[in-house]
């Protein structure tokens, strides 16, 4: 997980889920199947306190969907775990719909 780095390069295949509203998290996600490592950038005021927890939620969700080569940029507005899981699942399913199914 990378902190502080706010620039990530995404192609037009990237998908977005979530909003910038209080209690939410906005994710931009793209998967590069030919890469094995994930690149994750999180912007959050609570990263120092909850960073490990957030990282664990992200990793479990990526494992559940058996994904690697994931580029993920998250802008967190104080989202609870259930919101992180929901937005991750939405982003992954949107990416599958947009890219994998075509």
């Amino acid at each position: 997980m990378l902190e502080g780095e706010k620039q990530m390069e995404f192609s037009e295949k990237a998908v977005v889920a979530g909003t910038d509203k209080k209690g939410d998290v906005r994710l931009t996600l793209e998967v590069f199947p030919n890469q094995s490592e994930n690149k994750i950038v999180i912007e959050s005021k609570v990263l120092a306190k909850y960073g490990k927890q957030i990282e664990s939620v992200i990793n479990k969700m990526l494992e559940q969907y058996k994904l690697a080569g994931v580029y993920l940029h998250a802008i967190d507005q104080g989202a609870f775990d259930f919101t992180w899981k929901a937005r991750l699942e939405t982003a992954i399913l949107r990416w599958q719909t947009k890219v994998v199914s075509k």
Partner: protein
């Protein structure tokens, strides 16, 4: 004997074996795609929260809201009854809403724009299939029908009796007015017939009657009048969209100290007359008949469910 909202009312509300109070005074709508509002809703202590996947969610975010509500039910389910307003049968979102949400065992699914009994039966069948697959006792999850068209109002009794899952019926005023080629007015004159028919049909079918949303949030005087009118007509609860509306409805539907004292006096007089074998019962010079005794029992049962303590 069954009263206006008494024994039959509690039996109905307890059909699902709820662990909370068995009142449905308020159904508080919360946008299904807003995590902050989902987390906060419980704090206002409505009798029931409805996560809305329909009108409160834009067409591009239907998937996102459905998944958010799924995770909310899994992880932060409140200690209040919860329902989910799914998208209508005529939309591409209906079946997926039911398939994703039902395994989480909400207390009910609220079906919008219900017009024909076949629609209720179709939803019933789909829920049954999912309950069976997920080892949920068939019949656990109830249905609340929102009636939003002239045809729906015309068929209200048929909708209420279309399935044993139907817990309540209620009017969706905005869409109903559109269907009737009219507009909302301050005194709700355009809703008079539909409001009266739905409450009558609900009681005839022994289901709960839920009054419509009052959307002029800042008009507190108008809201209070609207709630009192509904209660007087026989409605058992109201759909609400703002936290400030919850306490107003609870207060209107709650039994007052005067109501409770009167109910206790009626029952005491009844018990005394029964013990003495007296055929005529009176309290303060007024005859007490069977419906009055039923209403007195209802008042005390209702007060107890609402958490009002009283002696005797």
């Amino acid at each position: 004997m069954e009263g206006t909202f008494g024994n039959s009312y509690f039996a109905l509300a307890n059909k699902g074996g709820f662990k909370m109070n068995s009142l449905y005074r308020t159904m508080f709508f919360v946008p299904g795609n807003d995590p902050h509002k989902i987390v906060k809703a419980e704090v206002y202590r409505p009798d029931c929260i409805v996560y809305d996947l329909e009108d409160a969610v834009s067409i591009t975010e239907k998937d996102s809201a459905r998944i958010l509500v799924k995770h909310a039910l899994e992880e932060i389910r409140p200690d209040i009854r919860v329902g989910v307003r799914i998208n209508g049968i005529d939309t591409p979102f209906f079946e997926e809403d039911v398939r994703i949400i039902t395994p989480l065992c909400p207390d009910f699914l609220r079906l919008p724009k219900t017009e024909k009994p076949e629609e209720v039966q179709l939803l019933d069948k789909l829920i049954s299939e999912i309950e069976q697959k997920n080892n949920i006792t068939v019949g656990t999850i109830k249905i609340v029908c929102t009636i939003e068209t002239a045809l729906g109002v015309y068929n209200a009794y048929k909708l209420a009796t279309a399935s044993s899952r139907v817990l309540a019926i209620g009017l969706g005023a905005e869409d109903f007015c559109t269907d009737m080629k009219t507009t909302r007015s301050a005194d709700c004159e355009e809703l008079r017939y539909a409001r009266g028919k739905i409450v009558l049909d609900a009681h005839a079918a022994k289901v709960l009657a839920l009054d419509f949303v009052y959307s002029d949030i800042k008009n507190t005087e108008g809201f209070l009048k609207n709630v009192l009118e509904a209660k007087q007509l026989g409605y058992t609860g109201k759909s609400v969209v703002h936290p400030d509306q919850i306490s107003v409805v609870h207060e209107c539907y709650g039994a007052t100290a005067k109501d409770i004292e009167h109910a206790k006096a009626v029952l005491a007089a009844y018990d005394e007359a029964t013990a003495n074998g007296s055929g005529v019962i009176a309290l303060n010079g007024k005859m007490i008949d069977a419906p009055m005794v039923t209403r007195a029992k209802d008042v005390l049962a209702y007060a107890k469910e609402a958490g009002v303590t009283y002696e005797g």
